[in-house]
Amino acid sequence: MLTLDNVTKVFRKNDKNFVAVEDLSFNINKGEIFGLIGTNGAGKTTTMRMIATTLKPTYGQINVCGFDSVKDDANVRKCIGVLYGGDTGLYDRLTARENIEYFGRLNGLNDDAINKQIEYLSEVFGLKGYLDRRCGSFSRGMKQKTSFARAIIHNPQVMLFDEPTAGLDILASEEVIDFIKQCKKLGKTILLSSHNMQEVEELCDRALIIDHGKTLCSGTLENILQQTNTNSIKEAFIKIIKKD
């Protein structure tokens, strides 16, 4: 469903080359949740951006749902839903419904399909009472849930979640995690980046540990634990990063 082949991203920073992602390869199968774990600046967001086609890989190829991310970028964007973590942005002067509708239309949905999806997603995220209120007054959690609905309004096959629970309280995080589990049940292909190892343990089938753009370790969670001879992903992560 999602394949990265020897992907490298080089930025030019103050006239020097800076390698943000180096020779990264992995693939994610349908219905699988794949974790991308790394410290700040490891290259997680850069990877997500390359898959979402807003950045082009300097070397290597990315294939999403059979489309090449460079040659067929518009089709790639149609079959992915991206949620950028941290401080998610909504149009404050538009209502939650208008925000979600906007992205639905841009992804080529007709009004009927949009209304059905909004009905469904607002049920799942408990957005019902808020749909027709302007987003400017929303709490962080409400915003994140609206962004979530907006990102997947077109029911994409592949979902990219970049630190989806960053800045959320426990209850809101729990809702998000539950939703990701539901997506998996629906057979979606999910790439999840996170700092939260508990979250990774709870959700991911496989994971990849990345640091300074380099792949340090990858495989199923059990695999990683075995390789590092540890009992938890948190321990494994610290051990691997420190050794490097």
Binding site: R49, A52, T53, T54, L55, K56, A74, R77, K78, I80, V82, Y84, G86, D87, T88, G89, L90, Y91, D92, R93, L94, E98, Y102, F103, R105, L106, N107, G108, S147, R150, A151, H154
Partner: protein, 416 residues
């Protein structure tokens, strides 16, 4: 493919317009404020010019004999003579006579606008046909009222002198003509009715409208432009937008169109507000300016096309500015810089004579548009200039679009 583009274009355009019109602050600044400010501006100008004429026809003045400092009394023979014979020549003039100890101090302090210095034996000399009487007018040149009062009084003195002369000549021989030469002038269109006079001769229209229209068309979209990309970046909505199925090009085009729409809307709002204020203040030029305003259709079309190209040029520039800024603040300070450009260039055209335009000015963006509007409004249909300016403005617009597309396809667009 084409269909898809227009579809995405209109989705983004609709959303941006809805979003913009919900932004009360920017709507207020772009449309409501000028609608209020211009009428106020005109009323104030009208009031102050009225008060100047008021003061000129009710001048505060005094009369002093040469060599002395203090005024003649209001009951003096001399003042009586002035009041009955000289000041009465003008029906409007109502002198406000001020007696003062020291006329110089009174002038400096602004107690009076002017002092009339007369000779000691003024009353004798004025009735002596062999003599010429000197009257010196010392006025306060620091104030507009002083200046106008002085010219009003000198005019009255001259008129009195003419009247005296006429009396004296008539006494000698009543058949001598008092107006041996009479000059009068007629404008081209007054002289020949077969000349179609285009345009207007209202100076305010000729001076203000071309400058204002050009400035607003160039930068009227600035405030919305900063919001369109830098604002989206600041609020973290830009990257999600670029990650949707829509193409970058359709998003860019829609944002481009929004800026052009706003610059035209703000220009229309300003022109409307000027027209409204002229009508409201019943300005002397308003009625005559409009009754005589006749513009040839082809000229109007050429000017509108020139304006459109200018809008395209500046919308591109503004989009580039906002796209290369990461925060609203940054975009705003960049656009402040660009705002001075049209202002300075537009002001440079202030004293350009429409019948004597150098061709090289055709190549100057902004400048050539102000001149084009001036030509149209003044009724000088210099089609070579209008077409030439249009051709050059098309080139600028294409360049601007090209650079904008380049900027928008850069990767650095999304990163902060």
């Amino acid at each position: 493919m084409k269909n898809k583009f227009f579809n995405q274009f209109s989705i983004v355009l609709k959303k941006e317009l809805k979003d913009a019109f919900r932004d009360k602050k920017s709507i207020f600044a772009t449309f409501i404020l000028p609608l209020i400010l211009f009428p106020i501006f005109f009323v104030i100008i009208g009031m102050s010019s009225n008060s100047i004429t008021d003061k000129a026809i009710n001048p505060k003045l005094t009369i002093v004999t040469t060599g002395t400092e203090s005024s003649l009394s209001v009951n003096s023979q001399e003042y009586k003579y002035f009041e009955e014979n000289i000041f009465s020549i003008s029906d409007d003039l109502k002198v406000n006579y001020v007696e003062c100890e020291n006329f110089k101090d009174a002038l400096i302090n602004g107690d009076i606008y002017l002092a009339l210095i007369i000779e000691e034996n003024f009353l004798n000399n004025i009735n002596d046909v062999t003599k010429s009487v000197n009257i010196q007018v010392i006025y306060d040149d620091r104030s507009t009222s002083g200046n106008t009062t002085a010219s009003v009084i000198v005019e009255v003195l001259n008129a009195y002198s003419d009247a005296l002369l006429q009396d004296r000549v008539e006494e000698l021989d009543p058949d001598i003509s008092m107006t041996p030469v009479v000059g009068s002038s007629l404008s081209l269109s007054q002289a020949f009715d077969d000349i179609q006079r285009y345009g207007t001769d209202s100076t305010i229209l000729l001076l203000i409208i071309p400058m204002l229209l050009t400035m607003l068309i160039s930068i009227g979209g600035a405030s919305i432009a900063t919001d369109l990309v830098a604002g989206e970046k600041e609020r973290n909505t830009f990257e999600p937008l670029l990650s949707t199925g829509a193409s970058r090009f359709s998003i860019l085009s829609a944002k481009y169109a929004v800026i052009i729409i706003f610059s035209f809307l703000s220009a229309i709002a300003e022109v409307l507000s000027i027209l409204i204020s002229m009508l409201v203040t019943k300005d002397m030029f308003a009625t005559s300016a409009f009754s005589s305003l006749y513009l040839p259709f082809s000229g109007v079309i050429l000017v509108v096309l020139n304006l459109l190209m200018l809008a395209a040029l500046f919308s591109g520039l503004l989009l580039i500015l906002t796209s290369t800024s990461n925060t609203l603040k940054e975009a705003q300070s960049k656009s402040t810089v660009i705002m001075f450009l049209p202002m300075i260039i537009a002001f440079a055209t202030m004293y350009t004579d429409v019948t004597d335009i150098s061709l090289w000015s055709m190549c100057l963006p902004i400048y050539n548009v102000v001149i084009s509007i001036k030509l149209l409004l003044a009724g000088v249909m210099n089609y070579a200039y209008l077409w030439g300016a249009l051709a050059i403005n098309v080139i600028y617009a294409i360049l601007s679009v090209f650079v904008t597309v380049k900027t928008f396809s850069k990767e650095s667009l999304i990163t902060k």
